[in-house]
């Protein structure tokens, strides 16, 4: 007999789910597991909308398991902790990002790189240890192993904290790992959306000079006046791109649509690094001569481990690095998704779960 989401686990829960590749979300009753000895249960107050949610809902990667309750930028308040939980207590402000489990024993896990564990479990749409499918943060509550729970520092509002849990760590981690976090470096950011605007803010906090590379000229004023970017390049403007050749120490490329790499490689100085955090689903052409002639690299990076996610959110609180968000009620979510397809948001939707998600 197929398990019913409502009966799988002992604790009632409700949220919004998509039931098919139309991706349309609607109310959904399900259940959360009992709080185990290492688990933390929390009431969800806010959840960011990540573009990955949209890809998943519409089965664009071909591996979606319906019904899907998306959401991996989840922030809330602890309601219960297991008997062996050491890091959290009831009332703490916490968050959960893209992962809720990993094997805990491989080299990656031992190196605090759970995000590279070959057996990680995603926060939604993935098979958990008990063979149930995980449900994400577009819901009223979550239960997660304390290892995968992030403390949200005082002074960081929960709605602003939520997008840091995916967008924030996704750009923070490669800025650190590829050493683009040194003062005075010149960092480029390709794409000005949820990830891109966070990359600008973190890079500025690292005291880099930041250039945004975008196809949309209408974003320029906002980028410079409001986000604090130092300059703005329109990627289709051949003259601008030519003039900027060899000027960047590194580039964080947030664009997941297919796009040419050569103009970006040319923007790099010698020894420069192009780091991809968006993942086009088809291979891209990589011209080899410019890579060799400048000893440049093209690399990838995928979110971050839990230790680094905590470090990132503490840094964000300390340096006032917060996403620009549009807070929406739960029942606006389908409209928000339509707008997200057109990148019509500055720069992250955050669902006000606490005030607007009601049981049906």
């Amino acid at each position: 007999m197929a398990s019913q989401p409502e009966l799988e686990h002992p604790r009632k829960a409700f949220g919004w789910a998509a039931r098919d590749p139309s991706g349309l979300l609607s109310p959904f009753n399900f259940s959360r597991r009992e709080v185990g000895e290492k688990d933390v249960a929390f009431k969800v107050l806010y959840c960011g909308i990540c573009h990955s949610d949209l890809h998943s809902l519409k089965n664009e990667w071909g591996n979606s398991i319906y019904p899907i309750v998306p959401g991996h930028e989840v922030a809330g308040v602890v309601t219960e902790v297991g008997s062996k939980v050491e890091k959290f207590k009831v009332g703490d402000k916490v968050g959960v990002g893209c992962l809720v489990d990993s094997c805990r024993t491989c080299h990656s896990c031992s190196d605090n790189l759970e995000n590279y564990c070959p057996q990680f479990t995603l926060t939604y749409g993935a098979k958990y240890r008990d063979s149930t499918i995980t449900y994400g943060g577009y819901s009223d509550s979550m239960v997660a192993d304390e290892h995968f729970v992030i403390r949200i520092p005082e002074g960081l509002p929960l709605d602003a904290a939520a997008p840091l849990l995916c967008a924030g760590i996704t750009v923070y981690s490669p800025l650190r790992y590829f050493e683009l976090d040194k003062p005075g470096l010149h960092v480029g950011v390709v794409g000005l959306g949820g990830l891109g605007h966070m990359a600008v803010k973190f890079a500025k906090a690292f005291r880099a000079k930041v250039t945004i590379i975008s196809t949309s000229p209408n974003k320029k004023e906002e980028a410079i006046q409001h986000l604090g970017a130092d300059s703005f390049l329109i990627s289709r403007d051949v003259d601008q791109m030519q003039a900027a050749k060899g000027s960047l120490d590194g580039i964080i490329d947030t664009v997941s649509a297919a796009h040419p790499l050569l103009p970006l490689i040319d923007l790099l100085k010698s020894q420069g690094k192009l780091v991809m955090v968006g993942a086009p689903d088809k291979p891209l052409e990589l011209p080899i001569f410019p890579l060799l002639a400048g000893r440049k690299i093209v690399a990838g990076s995928l979110v971050g481990g839990l230790k680094e996610t905590q470090e990132m959110i503490d840094f964000a609180a300390k340096h006032n690095v917060k996403p620009d968000i549009e807070v929406i009620p739960m029942d606006y979510v389908n409209t928000a998704m339509k707008r997200l397809v057109k990148a019509d948001v500055k720069y992250r939707f955050v669902i006000d779960i606490g005030n607007t998600l009601k049981p049906y």
């Binding site: 080299h107 590279y116 990589l286 093209v298 690399a299």
Partner: protein
């Protein structure tokens, strides 16, 4: 009135040059400049045949100016030094590699990275600062600024050591720069030709485990028994490639034909690095998702600076590393080029210049 190659300069020289895109080489009378205060005149004894020579004589890369005398793996003896030359004297055994001049003022030159200078002068087929074009080592002499002349280790045979001047530094430099020198780590060498076979030897000298990745199964016994590789992976065997997934810390990719990076990248562990040193004439396809999911990188590297080339030669002297060569007379060069285009050489042709390009 422009001067002929023979009268451009005061000192007559004899070499073999290609005169059109057939790439066929034939005797060519030209001249070498007066030995200036900073110059060293070298009587050439041996010159290695690099695949770049073949690409150049056939104008594969589209920037050859004929007539061209190739050759940038030069070993010879000093016959004259300028007044400012302190480090070399007549009779010294020296080498000349890929580059004979650079601007000396840019950041790269100041960091001993003349190979990344934006205004390099290559040993052949390059515009020199006086408006002439450089001619390479398939000739009986060359005059080079002292900064670009290398001391040749006393204990290494001159003929078998010649290929180190390009093949040697081309694999040594990325191994150092990208940190591929930790004993016990696992290096993959893709392609078993001039570059590949030297990479095995240098890799073993660094204490690495070395696996050759090749499309030619018949090369296996030789790779292991004679060259010292630890294992051999046939790239066209899907089962073997699958079994080797995620086992290598780094890969040096020496393949100059267009090839897919997807299967090579899958062999890398987390944070693995694939460094390409071959020069395919078209872009390669790179699967971005594979880079992102494993924080992997693809980088390029272009021979090496002079200081590092000297370091490499001294390292090879210490570890007794030379190339496996087939010594030929200059008259055999066209046959050798044809065999090289089919990969039919173990593993580098070296021209016995002294005994076949008669002096004037």
């Amino acid at each position: 009135m422009s001067k002929s190659p023979e009268t451009q300069y005061p000192h007559k020289a004899l070499g073999w040059a290609a005169t059109d895109t057939s790439g066929i080489l034939s005797p060519f009378h030209f001249s070498r400049r007066e030995n200036g205060d900073d110059d060293v005149t070298v009587q050439i004894l041996f010159c290695g045949v690099c695949h770049s020579d073949l690409h150049t004589v056939k104008n594969d890369w589209g920037f050859t100016t004929y007539p061209v005398v190739p050759g940038h793996e030069i070993v010879g003896v000093v016959t004259k030094v300028g007044n400012n030359v302190k480090n070399f004297k007549e009779g010294d055994k020296v080498g000349v590699g890929v580059i004979v001049e650079s601007c000396k003022e840019c950041e790269c030159c100041q960091q001993d990275l003349e190979n990344y200078c934006p205004r390099p002068v290559f040993t052949y087929n390059s515009p020199y600062y006086d408006g002439t074009r450089t001619q390479g080592g398939y000739s009986n002499s060359v005059v080079v600024h002292q900064r670009y002349v290398l001391r040749f280790p006393d204990n290494l045979p001159l003929d078998a050591g010649a290929p180190l001047l390009c093949a040697g530094i081309t694999v040594y430099s990325p191994m150092k720069y990208y940190g591929m020198t930790e004993p016990g780590k696992h290096l993959g060498v893709a392609g078993l030709g001039g570059l590949g076979h030297v990479a095995i030897k240098i890799g073993k000298a660094f204490g690495l485990k070395v696996t050759v990745i090749s499309g030619s199964p018949y090369k296996e016994a030789e790779a292991i028994d004679r060259l010292g590789a630890d294992s051999f992976l046939v790239s066209s065997d899907p089962a073997k490639m699958k079994a080797a997934m995620g086992t290598m810390d780094y890969i040096i990719d020496t393949i100059s034909a267009v090839h897919s990076l997807t299967s090579l990248l899958s062999l890398l562990k987390l944070n693995g690095k694939l460094i390409t040193v071959g020069l395919p004439n078209k872009p390669l396809e790179v699967p971005i998702f594979t880079l992102v999911a494993g924080r992997k990188l693809v980088g390029g590297s272009n021979f090496g600076g002079i200081k590092e080339t000297q370091e490499m030669l001294d390292f090879c002297g210490k570890h007794n590393i030379t190339a496996d060569i087939e010594l030929i007379k200059i008259d055999q060069i066209n046959t050798a080029m044809e065999r090289l285009s089919k990969g039919d050489v173990k593993y580098r042709f070296v021209i016995d210049v002294a005994n076949s390009i008669s002096s004037l």
